[in-house]
């Protein structure tokens, strides 16, 4: 067979293809970002502040206990993780001003006006034997309760969801619905022999 001239390849569209691939990978590959549930620890104990016990009304506290078997009790009532969110939401919102649920104090807030801010505090106690997974689930459910309330308040006052608000409005909503979790020193089932 005689040698024949192969026609020159048209490579003009090669760059288009390569850019297509580039965009494809850019969109599909998830960049490994740092994500999680952010929390603030209370400032370290100082000597003089140690004696000061804050007297909190019983109705203002939601006692969440997680034992070494990863079972949850809320104010003495055994619960599943899935029920915790609604319980916490009801606790923070107290829509019918139930005398057994936290009291509210009316506070002026920029951008919202007077808002009845709940005095409720979640007291979270875990056992030393609690699994980290369950701890994060509980934190997550409490966060979810607060986030949903914040979304509702945002929709009511600003007509948008919390995440869509600008930072000033977000601050106002955060003031209206504070996230108050207080962590009690952990129990240790393995040492005491009985959970107290």
């Amino acid at each position: 067979m005689a040698k024949r001239k192969t026609p020159g390849l048209n490579t003009g569209s090669m760059s288009d293809i390569s850019f297509l691939l580039l965009t494809f990978f850019l969109l599909t590959s998830s960049i490994n970002t740092e994500q999680g549930i952010p929390r603030k620890l209370p400032p370290p104990k100082t000597e003089d502040a140690q004696d000061k016990t804050v007297d909190i009304n019983k109705r203002n506290v939601l006692n969440v206990l997680v034992n070494f078997r990863d079972e949850i009790s809320v104010n003495g009532e055994v619960m599943m993780v899935s029920e915790l969110k609604d319980k916490a939401k009801e606790f923070f919102a107290n829509p019918n001003n139930d005398p057994n649920l936290p009291e509210k104090v009316s506070k002026p807030i920029d951008g919202i006006g007077d808002f009845a801010v709940s005095k409720g505090v979640v007291s979270l106690t875990n056992d030393q034997g609690t699994s980290y997974d369950m701890y994060v689930q509980v934190q997550n459910e409490l966060q979810r309760a607060v986030n949903e309330l914040r979304d509702e308040t945002s929709l009511q006052y600003f007509g948008k969801k919390y995440n869509a608000l600008d930072s000033a409005a977000q601050r106002a909503v955060t003031q209206a619905i504070p996230m108050s979790i207080s962590e009690a020193p952990p129990m240790d089932y393995s040492k005491t022999g009985a959970a107290n």
């Binding site: 005689a2 040698k3 024949r4 001239k5 192969t6 026609p7 020159g8 390849l9 490579t11 090669m14 760059s15 390569s18 850019f19 691939l21 580039l22 990978f25 850019l26 590959s29 960049i31 490994n32 970002t33 740092e34 994500q35 999680g36 549930i37 952010p38 929390r39 603030k40 620890l41 209370p42 400032p43 370290p44 993780v81 899935s82 969110k85 875990n126 056992d127 030393q128 034997g129 609690t130 699994s131 980290y132 997974d133 701890y135 994060v136 689930q137 934190q139 997550n140 966060q143 979810r144 986030n147 952990p186 240790d188």
Partner: protein, 162 residues
């Protein structure tokens, strides 16, 4: 059939190398995007718990990681009773040096940042979901003592509620 007309001897045409650079750049960009600089190689098993209400941390340069999990190799230092290791920077720490090591770690991490950013420094607790809370509590206590109050419980994304 003039299309298949045979024409005498021909030389092979040169390949057009113009688009080679495009491909190279494509790979370059791709790898630039997906690589995350991890300064430490993992020495513990870390399988994060899944959660729905996670937030992304704003600045990666303002995050210091503390890994807690079962050691990958048997030679690592563990905390008693010997199932869990704590990794700071590149090494697992010994139980008796935990307090000092965590303090030094917080100190060096804070010092390596500008004075303005120091308060924004977040300590990300990358804890395996099987770990018992006693180890996490110990570390949280140390962080609190050393005034490193901004923490983050690293978690993966879960779409639906349990």
């Amino acid at each position: 059939m003039s299309r298949f007309k045979k024409t005498g001897e021909k030389e092979t045409p040169e390949l057009n190398m113009g688009s080679m650079s495009d491909i190279i750049f494509m790979f370059l960009f791709f790898f630039m995007v997906i690589t995350t600089m991890r300064e430490a190689t993992l020495k513990v098993h870390f399988n994060p718990p899944k959660a729905t209400e996670i937030q992304k941390l704003e600045k990666k340069s303002l995050v210091a990681n503390i890994y807690v999990g079962a050691p990958i190799s048997k030679n690592e230092n563990t905390l008693p009773p010997g199932e869990v290791s704590v990794q700071l920077n590149d090494q697992t720490i010994k139980a008796e040096e935990l307090v000092a090591d965590v303090r030094d770690f917080i100190g060096t991490e804070k010092e390596s940042r500008d004075a303005i950013d120091r308060d924004k420094l977040t300590f990300s607790l990358k804890v395996d979901k099987e770990v018992q809370m006693r180890y996490v509590n110990t570390i949280k206590q140390e962080l609190r003592k050393n005034n490193a109050l901004k923490i983050n419980y690293a978690a993966g994304k879960r779409e639906t509620a349990k």
